[in-house]
Assembly symmetry: C2
DNA sequence: GGCATATAGTTAGTTATGCAACTAATTTCA
DNA sequence: TGAAATTAGTTGCATAACTAACTATATGCC
C-alpha cells in the first residue's frame, strides 16, 4: 500500500474523534464542576437558541448537525429540565417552535464563559494562524462530504 | 443543509465534532455500501488489533481513547459477530487478551481501503501542508487536555 | 377538489458513551 | 507475611446516536 495513503489513514484516526472528544469531555467536566447538570449536546442546542430563539426542530437539526430523532429526544430532555418549551407554530401545524425558558436564558453567560475557558485550555501553545488553518481544513472537509 | 457551516471566529463546531462526525458518517455509509455490517467504532478496535494482535482490553482503551465499559461492550459485540475472541492471559489472570479471528483478518484490506477512500473524499482540495498543521494542532490539543 | 408527494415530528430497536459502583487478581510495603 | 492500595474488567443507569417505520400536516399538480 502506498505510504501516503497510510498517512491519510492515520489522519482519519486523528480527525475521527480524539481531539474533539477530549475537548468535549473537558467541557463536560467544567460544566459539572460549575454545578451545571446539562450535557454538552443539550448545551449545543441551547447555544443555537441563544443566537436565535424559537427555532423549529428541523432548523435545530440543520444547525446542530443532528438528525430528527436525536433532536426530538434532546428537546424532550431539555423540556423535562424546564430549559425549553415546545410551542405550536401558528402558520404550520406540523411545526414545533422550540423556545427558551427564563432558566435557560440565565445559563447563557456562564456556559459560554466555560466554553471559552475550555477552548483556551485546549489551545495553549497553538498558533493563531494554525487555528485558522484548522478551521479552513474543517470547512473544506465538511463541504466535501455534505 | 444551508446552515451546516462553521462560523468564522468560533471553534464550537470543533467541540461539536462536525467535521469528524461528517467523516465518520461517510465511512459508515461506505462500509454499508460494501456490504459490511460493522460499525466504525468496532472497526477502530479491529484497526488497532491489525497493527498488533492480542492486546488487553486496557491497552485497547488507551489506543482507542475509550473508557473500560465502552471497550467491554465493543468487545462483547465483536465477539458476538465472531470477529474477536477473549483469551485469558497466562501471566496475569486479571487480563483478557483480545485476539482477531480469521474472519476479522479478512476484513483488514477492504476496510482500510474504504477508510483511505473516505479520507480521499474528505480531503479533496486540502493542501498537504495544511494536513500536517491539523495533525500538529490536534496533537497539541490532546496533550493540553489529557 | 382530490390524489400524490413532500415535510415536520415521533417511536422503536440497536449500538455506543460516561459515570459510579462493583468483583477479582496483583502489587506494595510496613 | 498480610493488609492496603492498585489494576483489569464487568454491570447498571442515563443520555445520545443512526436507521427505519410511522402519523400528521402541507403543497403541487391534474
Amino acid at each position: 500500500m502506498p505510504n501516503n495513503q497510510f498517512k491519510r489513514g492515520e489522519l482519519y484516526s486523528v480527525i475521527n474523534g480524539m481531539a474533539s472528544t477530549a475537548v468535549a469531555r473537558r467541557l463536560q467536566k467544567n460544566f459539572r464542576q460549575a454545578g451545571l447538570e446539562i450535557t454538552i449536546e443539550q448545551w449545543s442546542v441551547l447555544y443555537h437558541l441563544w443566537k436565535e430563539d424559537c427555532l423549529s426542530q428541523q432548523e435545530l437539526c440543520n444547525r446542530t448537525f443532528r438528525d430528527k430523532p436525536s433532536i426530538t429526544r434532546l428537546i424532550d430532555n431539555l423540556e423535562k429540565q424546564k430549559l425549553v418549551k415546545r410551542t405550536a407554530s401558528k402558520t404550520d401545524r406540523r411545526i414545533n417552535l422550540v423556545c427558551l425558558t427564563d432558566a435557560a436564558k440565565e445559563l447563557q453567560q456562564l456556559t459560554i464563559d466555560l466554553a471559552n475557558q475550555t477552548m483556551n485550555e485546549a489551545l495553549v501553545g497553538v498558533l493563531r494562524e494554525d487555528i485558522e488553518t484548522v478551521k479552513k481544513v474543517f470547512q473544506q472537509v465538511f463541504d466535501n462530504l455534505i
